[in-house]
């Protein structure tokens, strides 16, 4: 059997099996679909069957960039000011504080393990630990729609979980972009740009892109035309960020942020984006699986520590922050459990880190991200429901 034909059969069968099986499982057991594509990607990739060879994955690099950028864009469109202003400041405070706490705890523990375990020199250990800390921050939002259809979307806790998830994505995307600005590859310029200057460039690409896009588009009477122009806009923004070795996630996030806050019909914009968000996510999952490589045994401890430290940091941080803001009784002791699930943002961060050729410990950070997605995303809806029911 030749490779393309095997690919056709495997993808077709996997696609059908995944949908039929997970559709049923999702409805029956409140399980979020998606991780199955990651497994499928690993099975098809060079490490198992070799049907999706390394060269294929490399050739599809622009598609992966686009898929990553699409995730940043959809996250950016969640920050619509008209909705944000009616959210209590306390929700943001809680979400922001718990995200920062998670980053600090995971990064510190990882640094200690990597540096004092003799796995990497100090600078590399700081970079890798920061990368792992950034990935740890993001929480999956995939469970919300599933839970909404079962128990509804009302209530204080639900609102807090939404705000915390949004802010976790914002914090993770921003910190990751800053990390790339800090550890940037040298450019042929006479004077190398500083971290701050790179950060400004990252944001400016998205923000200017968003503003120019409005001028470009003018009135948009049809959804298909809006979609075509959006594809053009996001391709340019992500292409520019990737060209300069910056994070396409932050630039596309800013692009989405500007767009959703300047349009008179944000719902149309979001509808245009979300209708292809799932296919893009599935493509990302499959090729992320194919891009995975086994890590040397010395990295197993940091990856295991990542999983344990993240859960501890989220649960402990959420409890601490809720107590400090006087909402612990209302939310319940373990409300942080609903934030354990990791999904598209974590995967996009892990894959972005992997694709930065100059970063140390790339396979370890990526492995931590995909293991975490595999282990936690499918249960995220159940965790959210459990917290909501308990509260």
């Amino acid at each position: 059997m030749t490779a393309p034909f095997a690919l056709f059969i495997a993808v077709g069968a996997g696609y059908l099996a995944a949908h039929v099986a997970f559709d049923w499982l999702g409805r029956r057991f409140l399980v979020v679909s998606g991780a199955e594509y990651l497994v499928l990607g690993i099975l098809l990739g060079p490490q198992v069957s070799g049907i999706l060879g390394a060269s294929v994955v490399t050739r599809l690099d622009p598609v992966l960039t686009l898929a990553i950028a699409w995730i940043g864009l959809t996250v950016g469109t969640q920050f619509e000011l008209s909705r944000l202003v009616i959210t209590p400041a306390r929700d943001f405070r809680i979400g922001f504080s718990s995200s920062v706490l998670t980053f600090v705890v995971v990064a510190a523990l990882e640094f200690a393990a990597i540096r004092f375990g003799g796995i990497a020199p100090q600078f590399d250990a700081i970079v890798i630990a920061s990368g792992l800390g950034v990935v740890a921050v993001s929480s999956s939002d995939a469970g919300f729609s599933l839970v909404t259809s079962v128990v509804g979307s009302a209530g204080r806790v639900f609102a807090q979980l939404r705000a915390s998830t949004m802010l976790s994505s914002l914090v993770a995307i921003t910190l990751f972009a800053l990390l790339l600005c800090w550890v940037h590859v040298p450019t042929p310029l006479d004077r190398p740009l500083t971290t701050t200057e790179w950060a400004v460039v990252s944001i400016a690409i998205g923000a200017l892109g968003g503003m120019l896009f409005h001028v470009f588009l003018g009135e948009t009477p049809e959804r298909d035309r809006l979609f075509v122009a959006l594809v053009g806009g996001i391709v340019i923004v992500s292409g520019a960020a990737t060209y300069m070795d910056l994070s396409p996630l932050l630039s596309s996030f800013c692009f989405g942020l500007v767009l959703v806050n300047t349009t008179s019909s944000p719902q149309e914009l979001v509808a245009s984006l979300t209708r292809v968000a799932r296919p893009f996510y599935f493509v990302l999952l499959m090729f992320a699986g194919a891009a995975w490589q086994p890590i040397p045994s010395i990295w197993i401890l940091p990856v295991a520590l990542f999983l344990a430290a993240r859960i501890a940091a989220i649960l402990g941080g959420a409890r601490l922050v809720a107590r400090a803001n006087g909402t612990l009784q209302e939310f319940g002791e373990n409300w942080g459990l609903a934030l354990i699930g990791q999904g598209r943002v974590a995967l996009a961060l892990g894959l972005s880190y992997l694709r930065q050729g100059h970063m140390p410990g790339r396979d370890a950070v990526f492995t931590a991200a995909i293991v975490s997605v595999l282990l936690t995303e499918f249960l995220s809806a159940r965790a959210i429901r459990a917290v909501l029911v308990r509260s």
């Binding site: 948009t220 009477p221 209708r275």
Partner: protein, 446 residues
């Protein structure tokens, strides 16, 4: 105007960031891709405002941004973006097949066959005779013996008669036209693709006997291989269509992703099995449309159209980027009369076919307008020219250059003529009020 200003700013921005990047793999192609989409979009809107088909705007943008003019989308980017073109052709073929109804084919099949036979034969003969007559002015014929002149004229004519299903489908999508001219032209164009592939294969086989190629890396095609190329395509396409039908009946999820997968894997599969890719997907579309429940078929068709919207823009812009303006400028004294002869032959041939088919329903409109749908050339035509260039490496380049120049003319003129014809025949529904189009408010607050 504001779109052009924004594009100029984007181009300036791209120059500005030039020294700031290492150009990570694929990032240049992404930038070129983005610029191409926005440039083509802007040109398409401009064309629409001037009552010219949008796809002409896309092509013009491709020429302007491509290697022949500003070179923002250079040859390497064009080559990097080829998978998008292949995907576009596959989607177009599937959509085209889905447009064909069995009942309609039964009803009109005979007429379509007669129109096609007459039109193709008349055009083939006219173009061949034209080239033979002007043999001293045609680079790949000059100084050759009679047998070679006839063989190469015939080879050129057999690719010059090709039409463009892509343009026809894109135009019918854009205008939402429906009526005798649209339906008949779609049928003729789709079936002609199969006939042209068969004809070219036969003519090339004959040419190989008359003028054996030197240094060609293509083995001679036997009758069995040709039969497999066509028969295998129908067979594989039918199987693919049945699988799609089963999916639509039992799963019906993620149709957008599924549509892309079908187009992608249909194309891959045909390449792997050495079968005709267009025919494979046309058959798959045809089987899906005619064997699925109506609402299922419509849902998939809608998902495919949605996937095709940005792909069309890129496809035609890339087709524009591939036009070698310098070669066209050098060859225009030959190309323009050639385009006129081809157009005249299509006009005469289609009228002859209509008379032969004894068409009575909307006969006047068909006689007046059908030929315009047969003028455009794109995508497939370029692929066929590449086959000839591969078979005759020494002369293939000259044949290809002249042919691409002819395609450029027909690509620019054909859609305009077809759009006018659809307008004139009253098959384009009146524009719906903006609010009714899809109830989308303007994106920019006004």
């Amino acid at each position: 105007m504001r779109r052009i200003v924004v594009l100029a700013l984007l181009i300036g921005g791209m120059h500005l960031i030039g020294p700031l990047g290492s150009g990570a793999y694929g990032s240049r192609a992404l930038l070129a891709f983005g610029l191409l989409i926005l440039g083509a979009y802007a040109a398409g809107e401009l064309a629409d405002a001037m009552h010219v088909p949008k796809l002409v705007g896309y092509i013009v943008a491709g020429v302007a941004l491509g290697p022949s003019a500003m070179n923002f989308v250079n040859t390497s980017a064009v080559s990097d973006l080829q998978p998008v073109s292949s995907l576009a052709i596959a989607l177009i073929a599937f959509l085209a097949g889905a447009e064909l109804r069995w009942s309609e084919l039964r009803e009109r099949g005979g007429v379509i066959a007669k129109i096609l036979t007459a039109e193709l034969l008349v055009t083939l003969v006219a173009v061949t005779l034209f080239l033979i007559a002007l043999r001293d002015h045609v680079s790949f014929l000059r100084g050759n013996g009679t047998v070679e002149v006839i063989a190469f004229s015939l080879v050129f004519a057999s690719i010059a008669i090709v039409h463009s299903p892509a343009v026809t489908i894109a135009m019918l999508n854009e205008t939402r036209a429906n009526g005798p001219v649209s339906r008949t032209s779609l049928g003729v164009v789709l079936i002609s693709d199969v006939v042209v592939v068969l004809l070219l294969t036969g003519v090339l086989a004959l040419a190989r006997i008359l003028v054996p190629p030197h240094g060609a890396d293509v083995p001679a095609l036997g009758l069995g291989a040709v039969a497999w190329e066509v028969g295998g395509a129908v067979l594989v396409g039918a199987v693919l269509g049945v699988l799609v039908t089963v999916y639509l009946k039992f799963v019906r999820r993620e149709l957008f992703l599924f549509a892309i997968m079908i187009a992608f894997f249909g194309g891959q599969l045909s390449g792997m099995l050495h079968i005709e890719p267009l025919l494979t997907l046309i058959t798959a579309g045809f089987v899906t449309e005619n064997f699925s429940a109506e609402e299922h078929g419509n849902a998939l068709e809608e998902a495919m159209s949605r996937a095709a919207a940005p792909v069309f823009v890129v496809f035609f812009a890339l087709a524009g980027a591939q036009i070698a303006v310098a070669e066209l400028a050098a060859l225009w004294p030959l190309v323009l009369p050639l385009a006129v002869v081809r157009g005249g032959a299509i006009w005469g041939g289609s009228r002859l076919g209509l008379r032969w088919g004894k068409v009575t329903e909307s006969a006047h409109e068909l006689r007046r307008d059908l030929w315009t749908a047969l003028i455009p050339q794109a995508g497939v035509a370029i692929g066929l020219a590449a086959v000839v260039a591969q078979t005759y490496p020494n002369r293939g380049g000259q044949i290809r250059a002249l042919f691409l120049a002819l395609v450029a003319v027909n690509q620019a003129v054909g859609p305009v003529l077809f759009r006018r014809a659809l307008d004139r025949s009253g098959e384009i529904p009146p524009a719906r009020p903006a609010a009714e189009v899809d109830a989308v408010a303007p994106l920019v607050p006004t």
